[in-house]
Every structure is written in structure tokens, then in C-alpha cells.
Subunit: 119 residues, 2 copies
């Protein structure tokens, strides 16, 4: 599969709200996830659990993904806009972020999130 | 200056179309610029000349920059949408891309561009 095929499948599934299917089927067992503060989480299961913790404290109304955009043979980026209500505040907001993904052998081996200044 | 200050100034100036002022005042003399195909250009003057060559073959009607978004202590990302007419085609298009920037001592030392599949 080309990186274009992998990245387009990623965007299509995310735009359908299937983020957890992406993580289960497209993430490498040894993926490293880098949060906005630089914290790294290693391993597919811990990375999925991290997202489960986020999903548990937010009501997710939808998301819109722009991209994919490509650099070199094995990296792509997307722009996310999540429409969410954090349960802690009850206030509906749009969370924008950029994700940079590294692909090897058709699996995502690294993700790096860039967040806006309010997080 | 914090990276937040640097990045917000970057976005503000780009949204005013002052991209060359950004390159002249915010880029490190030894900046490395990584194009979508992975090609690297080193040095502030060669990087500016690369942009001058791009600007010479496109009529730029405007640009809109989303962000900045942050990862770790020294990186930020933005989403660009350029409203341009390539002189070669005369057909007005929107070029979307993601830029990832590394900052050291208040200067941008590295930029990495992610392009959509059509370039």
C-alpha cells in the first residue's frame, strides 16, 4: 500500500468518527504517541487506553479532518477540528490540532500532536 | 520570548501576507527548510530565494493561516491555505499545506512542509 492510500484511509475513517477502528487496525504494535506537552506513550494498547481516557471525559459531537498532507516517503499530517463538550465544564467547544504521522510497512509507527495554546 | 509569542507573531504576519518579512526577521541564519518531497535547503538566503522562485511563478491573492498549535518546548505547527493562480495554468486554486516549525533562541531553525497529494 502507498502512504497515500494509508493516509486517505486514515482521514476517511476519522471523518466517519471511527478513530478507535483506526487505532486498532492501522497502528503498529510498537507505536509511539507524542502528546502536545512532549509526553510519549509507547505501545498500541497504552495509546488506545490514553484515547479511551480522553473519550470518557468528553462528549464528542463530531470531528472534521483536513488533509492528508505529505512530507517525504513516510510522513503525513492532518488538521483536526473536534466538536466536543468536556464533561467537566459542560461547555461545547471546538478543539483544533495538527497530527503528524509516520508510516512504516503500512502501519502508523509514530503520531505527534500539536495543540492550540489553550490546552 | 516564549515560543507562544514567536508562533503568534509568525501567524499574525503570515495572515497579513508578510511571509518574506517573517523569513528575513524570524529565520535563523542556518535554517533548514524541508520541502514536501523531502528535499532540504540550508541557510536563510537560499531558503528565501526558494520562496522567491515560488512567488515568481504564482499570483498570490491571499492566504489564511490556522494555528499556531504546539508540541513540546520548541515546536509549533500551522495550517496554510494559499489562494493562488499559477502563472503556468492561469487557473485559480487553493493550496493547502501544514508547516511544522522548530524554534531555538527565538529564531526558526527548521521548517517542514506537508503538501496535499496534487503537488
Amino acid at each position: 500500500m502507498s502512504i497515500q492510500t494509508v493516509a486517505k484511509q486514515f482521514v476517511e475513517m476519522c471523518n466517519q468518527g471511527k478513530n478507535f477502528d483506526v487505532m486498532r487496525t492501522m497502528y503498529h504494535p510498537d507505536i509511539v504517541s507524542v502528546e502536545g506537552d512532549g509526553t510519549e506513550t509507547a505501545g498500541q494498547t497504552p495509546v488506545i487506553q490514553k484515547s479511551e481516557r480522553w473519550a470518557a471525559v468528553n462528549t464528542i459531537h463530531g470531528e472534521k479532518v483536513l488533509g492528508p498532507y505529505f512530507n517525504g516517503p513516510n510522513q503525513f499530517a492532518v488538521h483536526f477540528a473536534f466538536d466536543v463538550t468536556p464533561k467537566a465544564t459542560g461547555k461545547r467547544i471546538t478543539l483544533e490540532e495538527v497530527g503528524v504521522y509516520t508510516v512504516k510497512d503500512d502501519r502508523i509507527t509514530r503520531e505527534q500532536f500539536f495543540y492550540d495554546g489553550e490546552r
